[in-house]
C-alpha cells in the first residue's frame, strides 16, 4: 500500500487515481501515525511551500518522516513535494524538511523564458537506477513550477532538465526520491516511473 500525504491544498486525486490504476492500494494520509501503515510514501506536488510546510509542522510529520526515511521506506516527492526535502526555499520563509542538503531557488528572469516553467520538457538521465529503469533518455515530462531544487550534494542528481539553466529534475538518495515534474500527468512515460516506485521496498 502506498500512502499519499494530503496537505489539504489541491489535487491529490490524480496521484491516487494513477497509483490505483497500477493495481496498488492507496491510503490518504492526514496524520503522521498513518505513515507506519504503508509500504511507501508520496509527497504530492500541490500548493505553496510555506502552506505545505506549515501543514507538515502543525501535524507533526517532520520527525516522523525522518524516522520512516531512516527505516528505509521509499519516499517519493513530486514537484513541491521534492522541494520540501531541502533546507530552504526562496518561495517561503519556513524551513524545509532538511532531508537533503541544498535549497530551492526561483528561476531567474531571462528573455525568452516565461515563468512558471509550464509544459512538457525533456529529462536527461544521468544515473541509471531501478527507479528510472525502462524510461527512455530525454523523454518528455510535464512540468509546472517557478522554483527549482539546487542539491548541495551533486552525486544525488540523477536527471536534469534545461530551461535557461540546467536544473535537477530527478534526485535520489537511497530510498528518498524526488522528481520536479509530474509523473502522474506525463502520459505513458510518467506511468513507468510510478510503476517502478511501487515495486520498491
Amino acid at each position: 500500500m502506498t500512502g499519499i500525504i494530503n496537505y489539504g491544498a489541491g489535487n491529490i486525486f490524480s496521484v491516487m487515481n494513477t497509483i490505483e490504476r497500477l493495481d496498488e492500494k492507496t491510503l490518504i494520509i492526514s496524520e503522521p501515525e498513518q505513515l507506519s501503515k504503508v509500504h511507501r510514501i508520496i509527497l504530492p506536488g500541490v500548493g505553496a511551500f510555506d502552506e505545505a510546510m506549515q501543514y507538515l509542522k502543525n501535524h507533526e510529520f517532520v520527525d516522523k518522516l525522518k524516522e520512516e526515511m531512516k527505516k528505509g521506506k521509499p519516499i517519493l516527492g513530486i514537484c513541491l513535494g521534492l522541494q520540501t526535502f531541502f533546507e530552504k526555499s526562496e518561495e517561503g520563509k519556513l524551513d524545509g524538511l532538511k532531508l537533503l542538503r541544498g535549497c530551492v531557488k526561483k528561476f531567474p528572469e531571462r528573455k525568452g523564458y516565461v515563468i512558471p516553467h509550464m509544459g512538457w520538457n525533456s529529462v536527461k538521465i544521468l544515473v541509471e537506477s531501478d527507479f528510472v529503469g525502462g524510461v527512455p533518455n530525454k523523454s518528455f515530462f510535464y512540468f509546472a513550477h517557478s522554483y527549482y531544487p539546487v542539491p548541495e550534494e551533486a552525486n544525488f542528481i540523477c536527471g536534469t532538465t534545461e530551461y535557461g539553466l540546467e536544473f535537477a529534475s530527478i534526485v535520489q538518495k537511497e530510498n528518498l526520491i524526488g522528481v520536479q515534474f509530474h509523473p502522474e500527468k506525463s502520459a505513458s512515460c510518467g506511468l513507468i516511473f510510478l510503476e517502478n516506485f511501487i515495486k520498491m521496498r
Binding site: G119, A144, S146
Partner: protein, 252 residues
C-alpha cells in the same frame, strides 16, 4: 527544451461539449469524456474544459465531470466556468483538476487571484481574459461569457493579474473567436511582451498556418483549439509534425 503546447478546448454546457460562434448560437458537438480520452491518446499536451453554463446549482455535474476526466486521462487539464470563491477552486482541485481558469470573478474580485495563488500555488491559477478590439493596439476586457464590457484595458489587466499571482493567461479574442479567420496576432504579441507568465492564445484558429503564426509572431506558449479538432479538420499529430518541420519544439 520546453515545447509549445497544443490544447484542445472543450466548451461544456449541461454536460455536453458545444462550440459557440461569437459565444452565441451554440452548437452541440458531443460527450466530454470521449473527447478527453481521444485527445489524450492523440497526443494533446493538455486539455481545457470551460463550463459555459456553470452555476452553483449545477456544481455536482461539474464535480462529477472533473472526477470522471481525471480518472480517464494522464495529462493535465484545466477547468473553468462559474468560479466564485477560493472554496470553489479547492473543490475542483480536490476532484482532480490540475488548474482552474477564472474569468468574470477575477474582474469582480481580484483578491480571489491573490488568495488562491498563495494557497494553491501560481501554477494552478489561470486567468482567462476575453478581449475585444477598441482601436489601434487597444483592447477592452469583457466578462460574463463575452457579454459585458468592463471598461478595463486588456493590457493593463494582464499585467495586474500577473502581479496578483496568476500563473498563466488564457487570452481569447472575442473578435476572432469562432470565425476561423486566424488568431488576433497583435493582441497576443502585445500581451506576451507585457507579461512574463505563459500565454495561451485562443479564438479564431481556422488553419494550420494560423497556429504557426500565433506561436511564432505572437510568441504564445500554447494554442487553444476547438472546432478545427472537434470536426476533425486537423489532427494533433499533423499539427505537431507541421510545427516540428518548421523548427518549433513540440512533444511528438
Amino acid at each position: 527544451m520546453l515545447t509549445k503546447r497544443i490544447i484542445p478546448c472543450l466548451d461544456v454546457r449541461n454536460g455536453k461539449v458545444v462550440k459557440g460562434i461569437h459565444f452565441e448560437n451554440l452548437k452541440v458537438a458531443g460527450e466530454p469524456i470521449s473527447y478527453a480520452k481521444y485527445y489524450s491518446e492523440q497526443g494533446a499536451d493538455e486539455l481545457v474544459f470551460l463550463d459555459i453554463s456553470a452555476t452553483i446549482e449545477k456544481r455536482n455535474t461539474i464535480e462529477e465531470l472533473v472526477r470522471n476526466v481525471a480518472s480517464n486521462i494522464s495529462i493535465p487539464f484545466t477547468v473553468g466556468g462559474g468560479i466564485k470563491t477560493v472554496e470553489d477552486i479547492l473543490i475542483l482541485l480536490e476532484n482532480g483538476a490540475d488548474k482552474v481558469s477564472i474569468n468574470t470573478q477575477a474582474v469582480k474580485n481580484p483578491d480571489i487571484v491573490y488568495e488562491s495563488a498563495k494557497k494553491f500555488g501560481s501554477q494552478c491559477i489561470v486567468v482567462a481574459i476575453d478581449a475585444k478590439k477598441t482601436g489601434y493596439n487597444t483592447w477592452e476586457v469583457y466578462i460574463e461569457s463575452g457579454k459585458k464590457a468592463t471598461g478595463i484595458d486588456a493590457i493593463k489587466w494582464a499585467k495586474q493579474v500577473e502581479e496578483l499571482g496568476a500563473g498563466e493567461i488564457l487570452l481569447t479574442s472575442i473578435d476572432t473567436d469562432g470565425t476561423q479567420s486566424g488568431y488576433d496576432i497583435s493582441l497576443t504579441k502585445i500581451i506576451t511582451e507585457t507579461v512574463k507568465i505563459p500565454v495561451i492564445a485562443s479564438g479564431g484558429a481556422g488553419s494550420i498556418e494560423h497556429l504557426y503564426r500565433v506561436l511564432v509572431e505572437g510568441n504564445a506558449s500554447a494554442v487553444l483549439i476547438a472546432s478545427l479538432l472537434h470536426f476533425k479538420i486537423l489532427k494533433i499529430a499533423q499539427i505537431k509534425e507541421f510545427l516540428r518541420d518548421r523548427n518549433i519544439p513540440v512533444r511528438l
